[in-house]
C-alpha cells in the first residue's frame, strides 16, 4: 500500500534538483543558439553565471540573497549597453532577454518560477530563428524544446524517477506526435502579404558583392563559404568556363577603388543574341537590390529593372530568398555601336596615377598600331608569362596600385587582375570596364541545379571592340586557368579554411541539395506560394477565407483523430465471458434466448433440449465452460482456447 505524506495545497514547495537541472539545460541551449550573434564576452559571462548558479544550488543550497539580484541586473544591462550602445532592437533585445533568463534562474525555487522560466526559454528559442532560419539551426532550436517541455513534465507529482535521457524521451514522442498537426497548420496559416508593423529591413552585416570594388572586402568574400544562389537551367547547363554571372559593372576608377555608374535604364538591352538560355535563379538574401544574371540578360525579370550595361536591380532589397526567371544570351554582340559619351566614359582614368602602366600601354599601342586584339593578347601574355601568381593573401599595394601590382608584387586575385587589365586597356585607348559577379559554381547532379557560393565571387573585364561590341576578357584565366575551369576552391591552393578543402567541400556541395529544399519549401513559402497551394486541385488563387476554412477543417480532422485516440478503450478483458456471449448470440438466432435469471448451466441444458440434434455438442460446450470457470482458480490458456474454438465451430441448426 502506498501512503503519501499529506501535502498542504498552498504551501510554496521547492522544485526538485532534476527540474532545476532541466531548467539549466534549457537555458544553456538558449545561450548556445544565441551565441552566434551575442558578443563572445557576454556569452561566456552568462554561461559562467549559469554554471555558478547550478553549482551553488546543488552544493550550497540556499536562496540567492536579494541584495545580489539587483546589482546582477545592473551588470547585465550595463554589459548590453556597452556592447550595443542600446537596449532596444533585435540584437540588444535578445542579448538582454538571454541574460534575464539566466537571472531568472537565480530566483527559481517555486514550481511557478520554473514554469515561467521554461516558457520564456521557448520564446527565446523562437527568437533565435530571427537571426537565421537555416535548416540545421531550426532543428537545433526545435531540439531545445525537449528540455523545456521536460521541465514542465518534471513538475508534475509522479512517482516514476527515470534517468535524465529517459526522461527526455516522452517529450520527443510528444513533439513527433504533434508534427502532422504542426505541419498542416504551418502550411495553412494565412501569411501576411504586408507586415503589420516595421519593415523587415535588417541591415546586413555580412559581406556580399558590393557596388564598388576594393581589395580587402573582396578578399573577405572569397573565403565566405555560404550559398549565394542556386540556378537551374532549362536544358543542359552551360559549361563551367561559360558560367559568368554578372552583378555589377564598374566604370569609374579613382586610382584605388572601382565604382559602378548609373547607366540609363533600358527596357531591352542593346544586344544581338545568337544563342540564348533560360534559367531560374533562387537568390539568397543579400539585403541589396542587385539580381545576378548569367552573361547578358535579355530582359529584366518581374519587379526589377535592367540597365544598358546588363545590370539588373530589383525594386525592393532582397531580404528573403528571391526566385526569378531570366533569359540570357550566351553568344551575342552587346552594344555593337557605342556613342561618344559612353566611349569617353569607358576610357576615363584618373590623372597622376600609375605612370608605368600608362607607358607600357603606349608602348603596346605603338608596337601593334590599331590592332586592339593584339594589344589584348599582349596584356594576357604578360600575365601568363611574366611570373604573375594567384593568391588570396597578396602583399599590400601603394598609391600607384596598378603599377605596384604589375611591376613589383605580381601577385593577387581576380580583382587585382581585372583592375590592372582594365587600366592597361583604357591607357591603350581601348574602351574597357570591370564586371563583378560570380563565376563557376558546383553542379549538383542529383538536384540538377548549380550551387553558387559567395566564395565564387569573381571580377573580370569587358573591352569594347569595333564590330563585336563588349567582349569579356578574364585576365585571371591567363594566370590561373583552373580558377575558371575548376572553380574558386581549386585556384586558391592551400589558402582556404579547412572546411573548404577536398572531400569535405564535395560533401558539403552535395549536402546543399537539402538546404535548397529547405529554402524552397519552408523559408520561401510566402503569401504568393501559399495562394498557389491549391493549383493542383484546380483553384488558382486560394484566398485567406479559403485558407482559414481549410485550416479549421484540418484542425477538426486532427482533433477528431486525437479524440478517437483519447476515447478509445481496450475491449473488456474476460475472454471466456466474451466467448459465452458469442455463443448466446448464436443460440438467440436459433430461438433460444438466455433469461436474466438463468445461469450458464441451466441455459445450456435448456438449449440442448431445444436443439436435440446438437445435444452432444452443447453438452461438450457446457462442460468446457464449467471447467473453465469453476474447476481452477486460474483457468489454463489451453482450456480457454478449446472453449473458444468450440464456440467458433458451433453453428446452430434452426428447428423448423
Amino acid at each position: 500500500m502506498i501512503r503519501w505524506r499529506e501535502a498542504k495545497p498552498h504551501v510554496q514547495e521547492r522544485i526538485g534538483d532534476r527540474t532545476f537541472d532541466l531548467l539549466c539545460i534549457t537555458s544553456a541551449f538558449v545561450l548556445a543558439v544565441h551565441a552566434g550573434h551575442l558578443p563572445i564576452g557576454l556569452t561566456l559571462g552568462l554561461f559562467v553565471a549559469l554554471g555558478l548558479r547550478w553549482w551553488q544550488r546543488r552544493y550550497r543550497p540556499a536562496r540567492v540573497p536579494s541584495w545580489l539580484k539587483l546589482p546582477l541586473l545592473a551588470v547585465l544591462v550595463g554589459a548590453v549597453v556597452l556592447d550595443y550602445g542600446n537596449l532596444f532592437g533585435r540584437e540588444p533585445g535578445s542579448a538582454l532577454a538571454a541574460g534575464l533568463l539566466v537571472l531568472k534562474l537565480t530566483e527559481s525555487e517555486a514550481p511557478r518560477d520554473a514554469r515561467v522560466a521554461a516558457a520564456f526559454a521557448c520564446f527565446l528559442l523562437m527568437a533565435a530563428l530571427l537571426f537565421g532560419q537555416g535548416m540545421v539551426a531550426t532543428f537545433v532550436v526545435a531540439l531545445g524544446l525537449l528540455p523545456a517541455l521536460t521541465t514542465w513534465r518534471s513538475l508534475e507529482p509522479t512517482q516514476a524517477s527515470p534517468t535524465l535521457p529517459r526522461q527526455l524521451l516522452p517529450a520527443l514522442g510528444l513533439l513527433a506526435a504533434s508534427l502532422p498537426l504542426a505541419l498542416s497548420a504551418f502550411v495553412l496559416v494565412p501569411r501576411l502579404s504586408t507586415p503589420l508593423w516595421g519593415n523587415n529591413n535588417q541591415a546586413a552585416a555580412r559581406t556580399g558583392l558590393a557596388d564598388h570594388m576594393s581589395p580587402s572586402e573582396f578578399n573577405e568574400l572569397l573565403t565566405d563559404d555560404t550559398a549565394a544562389m542556386r540556378v537551374s537551367f532549362d536544358g543542359p547547363p552551360p559549361p563551367q568556363d561559360k558560367r559568368y554571372f554578372r552583378a555589377f559593372v564598374m566604370w569609374n576608377y579613382d586610382g584605388h577603388d572601382w565604382q559602378r555608374s548609373e547607366q540609363p535604364l533600358s527596357t531591352s538591352i542593346p544586344v544581338e543574341a545568337a544563342k540564348t538560355i533560360s534559367y531560374h535563379i533562387s537568390l539568397e538574401p543579400t539585403h541589396q537590390h542587385v539580381l545576378p544574371t548569367l552573361d547578358v540578360p535579355l530582359a529584366a525579370p518581374m519587379q526589377s529593372q535592367a540597365h544598358t550595361d546588363g545590370e539588373v536591380f530589383a525594386d525592393k532589397p532582397i531580404d528573403e530568398v528571391r526566385d526569378y526567371d531570366v533569359r540570357s544570351a550566351v553568344t551575342y554582340r552587346l552594344q555593337p555601336s557605342l556613342d561618344i559619351d559612353t566611349r569617353m566614359h569607358a576610357l576615363q582614368l584618373p590623372d597622376g596615377f600609375d605612370p608605368r602602366a600608362h607607358a607600357l600601354a603606349e608602348q603596346w599601342r605603338q608596337r601593334y598600331g590599331h590592332d586592339n586584339a593584339a594589344i589584348i593578347r599582349a596584356a594576357l601574355n604578360m600575365f601568363h608569362n611574366d611570373g604573375f601568381s594567384y593568391t588570396l593573401l597578396p602583399a599590400p599595394l601603394g598609391r600607384n596600385a596598378v603599377d605596384d601590382f604589375l611591376f613589383s608584387t605580381r601577385e593577387g586575385f581576380c580583382e587585382h587582375y581585372a583592375s590592372a587589365f582594365t587600366v592597361l586597356m583604357r591607357a591603350a585607348g581601348i574602351p574597357a570596364r570591370v564586371v563583378t559577379g560570380f563565376q563557376g559554381g558546383f553542379w549538383n547532379n542529383m538536384g540538377q541545379y548549380l550551387l553558387v557560393r559567395n566564395a565564387d565571387a569573381h571580377a573580370w573585364s569587358e573591352v569594347w571592340l569595333e564590330g563585336r561590341g563588349w567582349v569579356r576578357v578574364d585576365p585571371t584565366a591567363a594566370v590561373r586557368p583552373q580558377r575558371i575551369s575548376l572553380g574558386a576552391a581549386s585556384a586558391a591552393g592551400g589558402q582556404l579554411p579547412w572546411y573548404q578543402e577536398g572531400f569535405l567541400e564535395s560533401m558539403r556541395n552535395h549536402w546543399d541539395i537539402v538546404n535548397r529544399w529547405w529554402n524552397q519549401s519552408v523559408i520561401g513559402f510566402d503569401a504568393l506560394r501559399q495562394r498557389g497551394l491549391l493549383i493542383p486541385f484546380g483553384i488558382r488563387e486560394a484566398d485567406i477565407g479559403l485558407l482559414t476554412r481549410l485550416l479549421v477543417i484540418c484542425i477538426a480532422v486532427f482533433g477528431a483523430l486525437g479524440l478517437a485516440w483519447a476515447l478509445w478503450r481496450r475491449p473488456e478483458g474476460d475472454p471466456a465471458l466474451a466467448a459465452l456471449r458469442s455463443l448466446e448470440r448464436k443460440l438467440a438466432q436459433a430461438g433460444v434466448i438466455r433469461r436474466r435469471s438463468e445461469g450458464p448451466q441451466h441455459f445450456l441444458r435448456r438449449a440442448s433440449r431445444a436443439l436435440p440434434g446438437q445435444r452432444a455438442e452443447l453438452d461438450h460446450l457446457m462442460r468446457c465452460y464449467i471447467e473453465l470457470r469453476y474447476a481452477t482458480l486460474e483457468p489454463s490458456t489451453e482450456s480457454l482456447r478449446t472453449f473458444r474454438q468450440a464456440v467458433r465451430n458451433f453453428h446452430p441448426r434452426r428447428m423448423v
Partner: protein
C-alpha cells in the same frame, strides 16, 4: 462587493445550475468509472498565459515572415493541444473499485483507502478530499490512503472528492467530481479519567494479577519476584531459587459493563465512560461483556470483540 464574494456567488450559482459539472453530484455506488461525460478540462492559468505567448510568437513570426519561427510556434501549439488530450486520457477509464476505512474515535482523523484501477498507466493523478490533496500514479492497481477529519461518533459519509490532474505539462487541468456512496463508522471518544467499573464483590477479590490458584509451573527466580512466591521446598533441591508461576485467573476477571448501572449521566457521557472502560479492558487483556439498551454483547476479548463493542456504542442513537 469584492471580487472574491462575487466569484463565490458565481460558483454557488454554477453549482445549483450545473450539478454534473460541479460538486453537487448525487451519491453513486461503487465501483465508479470516470468517463468522458463526467471529465471536464480547462486550461490552467499558466496554460492561458502560454497560449497568449504562443499567439505573440505567431504574430511576430508572421509579421517578419520568419517561416522557421512559425514552424516552431506551430509545433509548440500542436504539442499543447495534444497535452490536452493526454490530460483527458489520464482520467478517462480510471476506476475506483472500492473504499476501505480504518477505525478512529471522534475527533481523530480516520484513514480511508481508495482502491484505484486503470488499464494503462496513469501518472500524477491527484485526489482532493476536504483540505487534503494527494498525488498518486496508477499502474494497474493503486491504493490511495487519505485521512479525513471526524467530529462526531456514528456514521460519516465520506465527502465528495475531486480527482484531477495537470499531467503532462501543467497547461490543462482535467477533473472529475466523485461522490461515492460510502460511509465510515466513527467510534465514540472515551472520557479522560473517571471511576473504574463498579464490579461485583467476588470478582473484586480475584482481579489482582498473579493471584491465580492453579500452579502452572516452576521457574528460575528473577529479581523482583515476590518472596512469597518462592517455592522453598523445591528450591532446596536445586542450585537456584525456584518461583511458583501462577496462571492468570482470566476466567474470573470478566468485566460486566452495563449501560443501566450508569445512572445520573446523559447518553453521551455514558457512552464515553463505557468507551473508556472498553479501552482499559482491552489494554489489560481482560474479558468483558457489554450490556446496552438495544443489545447485549456477550463475554469476549481481543481486538475484534473490542471493535464490535465500540461499533455498537458508535451507533447508539
Amino acid at each position: 462587493m469584492s471580487v472574491r464574494t462575487q466569484w463565490q456567488r458565481l460558483q454557488h450559482w454554477a453549482e445549483r445550475r450545473l450539478p454534473a459539472l460541479t460538486r453537487h453530484r448525487r451519491q453513486e455506488d461503487l465501483p465508479i468509472e470516470l468517463h468522458r461525460r463526467r471529465i471536464y478540462i480547462v486550461p490552467t492559468g499558466f496554460g492561458m498565459a502560454f497560449t497568449l505567448l504562443l499567439l505573440v510568437m505567431m504574430v511576430g513570426s508572421l509579421n517578419y515572415s520568419n517561416n522557421a519561427g512559425l514552424l516552431l510556434t506551430c509545433l509548440l501549439g500542436a504539442t499543447t493541444s495534444i497535452s490536452m488530450l493526454v490530460a483527458f486520457r489520464t482520467l478517462n477509464g480510471l476506476r475506483i473499485r472500492g473504499v476501505r476505512a480504518g477505525h478512529a474515535v471522534a475527533g481523530d482523523p480516520i484513514d480511508v483507502t481508495f482502491d484505484f484501477e486503470a488499464r494503462h498507466k496513469r501518472q500524477a493523478v491527484r485526489l482532493d478530499i476536504g483540505e487534503v490533496t494527494q498525488a498518486f500514479d496508477v499502474n494497474g492497481r493503486a491504493d490511495v490512503t487519505v485521512s479525513i477529519l471526524t467530529e462526531h461518533r456514528g456514521w460519516l459519509s465520506i465527502p465528495r472528492l475531486r480527482i484531477w490532474t495537470t499531467w503532462p505539462m501543467g497547461l490543462f487541468r482535467a477533473w472529475s467530481w466523485v461522490n461515492p456512496h460510502y460511509a465510515v463508522l466513527v467510534w465514540p471518544r472515551p472520557e479522560i479519567g473517571g471511576p473504574a467499573p463498579n464490579l461485583p464483590l467476588e470478582d473484586h477479590r480475584k482481579q489482582r494479577l498473579h493471584r491465580g490458584e492453579d500452579l502452572a509451573s516452576l521457574r528460575d527466580y528473577r529479581s523482583g519476584d515476590s518472596m512469597r512466591h518462592v517455592a522453598w521446598k523445591a528450591s532446596a533441591r536445586h542450585e537456584n531459587l525456584l518461583v511458583k508461576d501462577y496462571e492468570q485467573p482470566q476466567g474470573h476477571q470478566e468485566w460486566r459493563l452495563d449501560w443501566r448501572h450508569l445512572r445520573g449521566l446523559d447518553n453521551e457521557a455514558r457512552i464515553a465512560r463505557l468507551a473508556r472502560w472498553l479501552g482499559e479492558a482491552q489494554a489489560q487483556g481482560r474479558q468483558w461483556s457489554l450490556w446496552l439498551p438495544s443489545e447485549a454483547i456477550g463475554i469476549g476479548g481481543g481486538p475484534s470483540h473490542y471493535a464490535r463493542c465500540m461499533s455498537a456504542l458508535a451507533v447508539i442513537p
